[in-house]
């Protein structure tokens, strides 16, 4: 019984996704800088700009818009996903740029999405980082749900946090939908997506309570999904100490009021060095490696790699 399972030769390739539900909060910047830092630690990294429609990850890396993009792969102008990989000039760090052909990309059909996700999963690297677009459409949520590490970026502003909660609920309900077979429960989940549903279900905990009451046999499925769904918060653009504390509040609020066990991966200060670099279309990790933001990123990546999270001091 205690015989250990066969040991894989190498750590499994991991997919990390960087979401947040809102635009302009630093998702692309985080993706680029996390990727840079991971590559610096010796990991083979591929960044994927999956912000279909608002692709600009290449700019964060100081690159011109690449000739070949994910759009070419989606439209089958490129046969293999490897054909649209470009070098970034940084050792071990490569990029799959977003679709320039945004109309085609924004209307990506389900089978195309499955093809993209499968090929991403099969990439021969250590870490794949997915830069997600804004919003909570299925295209974005499904990319988030395939990842091993799901990072939720927020900035200390009400609008960003509101969108992050919406993102969490959408992603969890999507997981429920994928796991549940029972039609009536599926309808409840569908209904719960509308905040003003007639069942009075406002949160995943309400939904769980309703299912426990009306379809007790199905409740465990939802519980397992809730347990396995573990998004991690990153607070960006921290300007004062209280801002960094928001991450802890979000974790507590999600546990109590949504029944979702998130963790707090870390925070990044607002830093003039960041936008100075952005303006020059350069990466601040390269330009200003000693800046506060660069140090924050280094700490964040170390924590993520070691599976450590920030916890309250008591």
């Amino acid at each position: 019984m205690t015989t250990p399972a066969p040991v894989p030769a190498r750590p499994r390739r991991q997919i990390w996704s960087i979401g947040g539900g809102k635009g302009g909060i630093g998702k692309s910047l985080l993706t680029a800088s996390l990727g840079y830092q991971l590559a610096k630690m010796g990991k083979r990294v591929i960044l994927v700009d999956s912000d279909l429609g608002g692709a600009n990850l290449h700019t964060c890396l100081g690159l011109a818009a690449p000739e070949r993009t994910l759009g070419d792969f989606i439209r089958r102008r490129a046969e293999r996903i490897e054909d649209v990989l470009v070098e970034t000039g940084i050792p071990l760090l490569r990029l799959i740029s977003g679709a320039s052909d945004f109309l085609a990309a924004a209307n990506i059909k389900y089978p195309q999405k499955v093809r993209v996700l499968n090929r991403i999963r099969a990439l021969e690297v250590d870490v794949v980082l997915l830069d997600l677009g804004a919003g909570t459409s299925y295209n974005i949520i499904d990319f988030f749900l395939v990842s091993d590490v799901g990072l939720l970026t927020v900035v200390p502003e009400p609008t960003s946090i509101e969108n992050a909660y919406r993102f969490i609920k959408s992603a969890l309900y999507r997981r429920f939908r994928n796991a549940v077979q029972n039609d009536e429960v599926r309808q409840l989940i569908e209904a719960a997506l509308d905040q003003k549903n007639p069942h009075g279900i406002r949160t995943p905990l309400d939904l769980l309570a309703t299912v426990e009451r009306e379809h007790p046999g199905e409740a465990q499925i939802l519980k397992n999904e809730m347990a396995a769904f573990r998004p991690q918060f990153v607070v960006n653009q921290v300007r004062e100490p209280a801002d960094a504390g928001i991450g802890h509040q979000l974790v507590a609020a999600c546990a109590r009021h949504l029944g979702v066990r998130t963790t707090y991966a870390g925070f990044v200060h607002y830093d003039e060095a960041v936008w100075r670099s952005v303006r020059q279309r350069r990466l601040f990790m390269v330009d200003a490696p000693r800046s506060r933001a660069a140090e924050d990123i280094t700490r964040l990546v170390r924590g993520l790699v070691q599976g450590e999270t920030l916890t309250l001091p008591w």
């Binding site: 019984m1 205690t2 015989t3 250990p4 399972a5 040991v7 894989p8 190498r10 750590p11 499994r12 991991q14 091993d148 590490v149 200390p156 502003e157 009400p158 946090i161 509101e162 909660y165 905990l205 309570a209 465990q220 519980k223 397992n224 809730m226 347990a227 396995a228 573990r230 209280a242 504390g245 928001i246 802890h248 509040q249 979000l250 974790v251 507590a252 609020a253 546990a255 109590r256 009021h257 949504l258 029944g259 066990r261 963790t263 599976g307 450590e308 309250l312 001091p313 008591w314």
Partner: protein, 193 residues
């Protein structure tokens, strides 16, 4: 939501020190405060008022040594105890259902001998007389996964990142040091990580 005991409201265990009560009160007052960005969009105004009142009530009792002693005595007497209808606290240890509660060890977290295996976890749990369902209820981890962890059925377990969290919460619940316990357990599965 249900609010549970005063300890649940402040995300504490009954073993909390006076200092922890103070810190938890500061934290939750801020989290549910007028200026908080973390809760305004999550809770209706009525819910917010209610939860603020609960936090204040919990603090008023738990910060006063005499009132706290009386409250603890009331909690220990099952029929009079307020029922935690739906405990959803911040940390698993505090989510222990109201009764009957096998003693989860207080005090500093323990370490099991290396390497931590499913069997050694199970032994530690059984010594404390804690049923798996109990841990499942408090941590929201399915009983099935907990069984797989104890049976070392690694191929049936979820991805490592999730598994790490599961083992940590399991360990925390038993009063074991979460991070090092999980690390030792996982090292047997993926020694390179």
């Amino acid at each position: 939501m249900g609010y549970g005991t005063h300890y649940d409201v402040l995300g504490l265990t009954p073993a909390a020190t006076a200092e922890q009560v103070e810190q938890a009160y500061q934290f939750f007052s801020g989290m549910y405060g007028e200026e908080s960005v973390a809760t305004y969009s999550l809770l209706e105004p009525g819910e917010l008022r209610e939860v603020r009142t609960r936090v204040q009530q919990a603090y008023d009792v738990l910060c006063d040594a005499v009132k706290r002693q009386e409250y603890d005595a009331a909690l220990a007497a099952p029929p009079a105890a307020p029922v935690a209808e739906e405990p959803a606290p911040t940390r698993p240890a505090a989510a222990t259902p109201a009764r009957p509660v096998p003693a989860v060890p207080a005090g500093p977290p323990r370490l099991l001998p290396e390497p931590v295996t499913g069997a050694s976890l199970r032994k530690a749990r059984e010594e404390l007389g804690i049923p798996l369902q109990h841990i499942a209820g408090a941590t929201k981890i399915g009983v099935r996964f907990l069984e797989y962890i104890e049976a070392d059925r690694h191929r049936d377990l979820p991805a490592l990142v999730y598994l790490r969290g599961f083992v940590q919460e399991y360990a925390r619940f038993l009063g074991l040091e979460p991070r090092r316990t999980a690390e030792s357990y996982l090292r047997r599965i993926a020694p390179d990580q």
